[in-house]
């Protein structure tokens, strides 16, 4: 195979932040930095709390599924006795790594945080702070190729979150203990959370590949073609759904937390 001739580069590489761009190029990376920092900061704080994460039939999505914990939503009982006393316990610790891993390895977020958090590059056609670059070609970022495994988990989480919405339709009467059908503002908050998370997860690039994109001839595979078209539709707005779902899952925890703390009142609509 013919070798590529080495290129003689004349123009010097520009230093960090150097550019001929006149527009407010720093605005988008700054907005992404603030958005991601706020979400990561809040969710870490909320996960560490270990309380006020459920209210009536509602369970915060940051704690769902509650594998082990003290709320009525717990699937396998309370905090295990073998849990080290020195280690703080929160049901969120057991599960939050999965959706976090899905977002950290997401193709959209990768591009966004490489720019906003690592300035590699700060943004398009703007000089960088470092001359060395390994990309996702070697350790550590080659690990990003694990994304599809987190996607499998994210789809499983959608099932649990949908089940939480079902649970949020049944309100227990404090006097009789009988559950009856109803819709509260919290029900709608949790339902919209599933819709937005679903729109984000179902637009995943890895899912798009696995349901049909990996084939060169999809036309002869009607089921895979339909799935590919559907995922491609969500994929075209992947960035939008990524941000909307991130904001709404954060708000959903805020809503449940505020209700559980008695600061907000959950109004029943039905």
């Amino acid at each position: 195979m013919e070798q590529v001739q080495p290129v003689q580069i004349a123009a010097p590489v520009r230093g960090w932040g150097q550019t001929m761009r006149r527009d407010a190029w720093w605005l988008q990376p700054l907005a992404v930095f603030l958005g991601l920092s706020t979400a990561i900061g809040y969710m870490t704080w909320a996960a560490l709390q270990g309380e006020f994460y459920h209210f009536g039939p509602y369970l915060s999505p940051l704690y769902s599924p509650e594998l082990l914990g003290g709320s009525p939503h717990s699937l396998f009982g309370p905090q295990p006795t073998w849990w080290p006393a020195l280690l703080p316990f929160s049901p969120a610790f057991l599960i939050l790594w999965a959706p976090a891993g899905f977002r950290v390895t997401c193709y959209y977020y990768r591009g966004a945080y490489y720019k906003a958090m690592w300035a590699d590059p700060s943004t398009c056609a703007v000089g960088e702070p470092r001359s060395t670059f390994l990309g996702e070609n070697s350790f550590p970022l080659i690990i990003q190729n694990i994304h599809r495994y987190f996607m499998y988990l994210a789809l499983l989480f959608l099932v649990f979150l949908t089940y939480d919405v079902w649970n949020a339709l049944w309100f227990e009467d404090a006097a009789t203990g009988v559950a009856s059908f109803g819709i509260g503002v919290g029900t709608l908050v949790l339902a919209l959370n599933v819709v937005l998370l679903g729109s984000y997860s179902l637009g995943c690039h890895s899912l798009r590949h696995l349901v049909g994109g990996r084939h060169d001839r999809i036309a002869g595979l009607p089921l895979q073609r339909s799935c590919y078209d559907c995922v491609s539709g969500f994929n075209r707005r992947h960035m939008l759904y990524a941000w909307m779902s991130l904001a709404w899952v954060t708000f959903s925890d805020v809503y449940v937390r505020m209700c559980a703390m008695g600061i907000w009142t959950d109004f029943r609509l039905l």
Partner: protein
């Protein structure tokens, strides 16, 4: 009629500087019109590559106010004319003179990519049968006019100068057009992962942003190629599945 100042890079690979030229501008003008006017009136020796003036030949690529653009498709009314408009050559390629760069590295890269290898014909007359749906997916990639703006803006080439390790977005699109071709039988995945450095792309989408043909380079070409590399090299489950399904 009003006037505007254009700050144009003048020089060659050894030395150069920006020079200001003020010229008359009128409604409907594009940057290339202004450059031609300056060339005719004030700087007869100004070097600029151009051909179709219609955004289809990909010759007049340059950086206008720091943004990689086709000069013939950048209307002056989209630029702030109360300050000088800077026009400089693409930063990723060696400068020949003024606004002209040597883009021949791209053609050398293209030679390294395995060519189209069609399957046996479907019909006795030597023709194939292909569904329109499958054709449309790769048709998007055929819109490329090889302006090399995507190569210019890609920070792997522009800032890190990894020309010997990474083929750049233009040739990932080219590879995708071949790799997803419904008739093609060649396997380019190992080349992509090793020699062509698809892993160097960190999905900043700058290539997609500057593409004058609006090709969804990152979403429809590069990421699907990365996923095909994952299939073959990093996903044990898919590998196992392939052992059973063939």
């Amino acid at each position: 009629m009003s006037s505007a100042t254009f700050r144009i890079w003048r020089g060659n690979a050894e030395a150069g500087a920006f020079e200001d030229y003020t010229t008359e501008v009128s409604e409907g003008m594009v940057v290339l019109d202004a450059v031609h006017q300056i060339q005719a009136e004030k700087a007869n020796d100004l070097a600029v590559r151009w051909n179709c003036k219609a955004g289809k030949c990909g010759s007049c690529s340059a950086e206008v106010n720091g943004n990689p653009k086709l000069m013939c498709m950048t209307r002056l009314n989209t630029l702030p004319l109360d300050e000088p408009v800077t026009i400089e050559p693409m930063q990723t390629f060696p400068l020949i003179r003024d606004l002209v760069t040597d883009v021949s590295w791209n053609y050398e890269v293209k030679k390294r990519i395995k060519q189209f290898a069609p399957r046996k014909p479907d019909a006795p007359d030597g023709s194939w049968r292909v569904d329109q749906y499958d054709v449309e997916r790769v048709q998007e990639f055929r819109k490329c006019i090889e302006c090399f703006l995507c190569q210019d803006v890609c920070h792997v080439l522009r800032d890190h100068r990894l020309h010997d390790k990474f083929i750049g977005p233009r040739y990932l699109v080219y590879t995708a057009a071949l790799e997803m071709q419904p008739l093609d039988t060649e396997d380019r995945i190992a080349d992509l992962a090793n020699d062509h450095g698809v892993g160097y792309c960190n999905i900043t989408k700058c290539c997609t942003t500057v593409c004058p043909e609006d090709i969804a380079i990152t979403d429809n070409a590069i990421i699907p190629l990365k996923e095909r590399v994952v299939d073959q090299m990093y996903d044990p489950l898919t590998k196992m599945l392939r052992m059973f399904t063939g």
